[in-house]
């Protein structure tokens, strides 16, 4: 009889130990999963910023090149989130800075009336 009781006691203890190990393992897996999700979110945010910067740079280049092609003299009063440097348009979003190559040969950043403007040297259509 004592032998049977001992077997039952150790059997129950073993089952509890297994349950504890399982719970601990589950919590550890959950923690690892949450950490991975956090890392993935950070990477996605960084990628989003890079995409935003590149899109802005391409948009600015398209505006500048269209202005050059059509000899559009005058002031384009639209906010562009870019700066001109060495024939390229640079744009920043967050910590990411991206560039785009433009076709127009003479573009530069200038200060005008307290605002930063982009100047495009045109090829005049009317001479």
């Amino acid at each position: 009889m004592n032998g049977k009781r001992e077997k039952r006691f150790f059997g129950a203890a073993q089952a509890q130990l297994e349950a504890l190990i399982c719970i601990a393992f589950f919590i550890a897996m959950l923690g690892a999963l949450l950490h991975s999700l956090g890392q993935a979110k950070q990477a996605a945010d960084a990628a989003g910023e890079a995409l935003q910067a590149k899109s802005n740079a391409l948009l600015c280049c398209a505006a500048v090149d269209s202005t050059y092609s059509n000899s559009a003299a005058g002031l384009l009063d639209e906010e562009l989130h870019c700066t001109a440097e060495s024939g390229m348009m640079l744009s920043s979003a967050g910590e990411k800075t991206k560039e785009a190559d433009c076709i127009a040969p003479g573009i530069k950043t200038a200060q005008n009336s307290g605002k930063t403007r982009i100047e495009v040297t045109l090829n005049e259509h009317y001479r």
Binding site: G11, Q14, A15, E18, I21, C22, L51, K54, L58, C61, A62, D65, S66, Y68, S69, N70, S71, G87, M88, A100, D101, C102, I103, A104, P105, N123, H125, Y126, R127
Partner: protein, 179 residues
């Protein structure tokens, strides 16, 4: 294994062996599922699924990157062709080969000068360059002004525009490739 007493009857040995085997089997069953294959199979399945998901995301990312690069090249080729047919630039005919009307003192958009086109040369714009320029007239005659060798593994985009070359309608083809 069996033992026999002096009387020759089998005692205990064989029966003991069977009981022991059964007892061992029961002891193994009481060890719980930790020691079973179920948990291992479940873990392997989860890891496989995670791996497949990561591979899928990576492929999606590569596809998006390639698409974005192609879009940028298409934009550049379109704007180069636009500049070519709308501007008159004797210094760099690649950026302007439109006809300049001296009488009207203005550039005629979409009317190109073959002389200027013949002076046009391939040019680089940083991440991409103009790879080829040609003009195909309505009667099928095609004149290539310049054509560089296409580099292996580099993506190219060609844009065509209807223009008037001299007095006839023609198709102007501009090709741009990434560097």
């Amino acid at each position: 294994m069996s033992t026999t007493d002096s009387g020759g009857s089998r005692t205990g040995g064989f029966v003991f062996c069977c009981d022991q085997a059964i007892a061992n089997k029961r002891r193994g069953a009481r060890k719980g599922f930790i020691f079973s294959l179920d948990l291992a199979i479940a873990l392997i399945t989860v890891l496989l699924m995670l791996n497949l998901a990561l591979l899928h995301f990576n492929e999606e990312k590569e596809s998006l990157l390639a698409g974005a690069k192609k879009s940028e090249l298409q934009k550049n080729a379109l704007l180069l062709a636009d500049s070519l047919v709308k501007n008159n630039n004797a210094e760099n005919p690649l950026l302007g080969a439109a006809f300049f009307d001296n009488e009207k003192h203005r550039v005629l958009s979409n009317v190109v000068q073959k002389e200027l086109l013949r002076e046009a040369q391939a040019d680089s714009f940083g991440g991409w360059h103009a790879q080829a320029l040609s003009l195909k007239t309505k009667n099928g005659a095609e004149e290539t002004f310049f054509a560089e060798e296409k580099q292996a593994g580099k993506d190219c985009v060609a844009v065509e525009r209807f223009v008037i070359a001299g007095t006839e309608k023609a198709l102007l083809r501009v090709a741009a490739c990434e560097e």
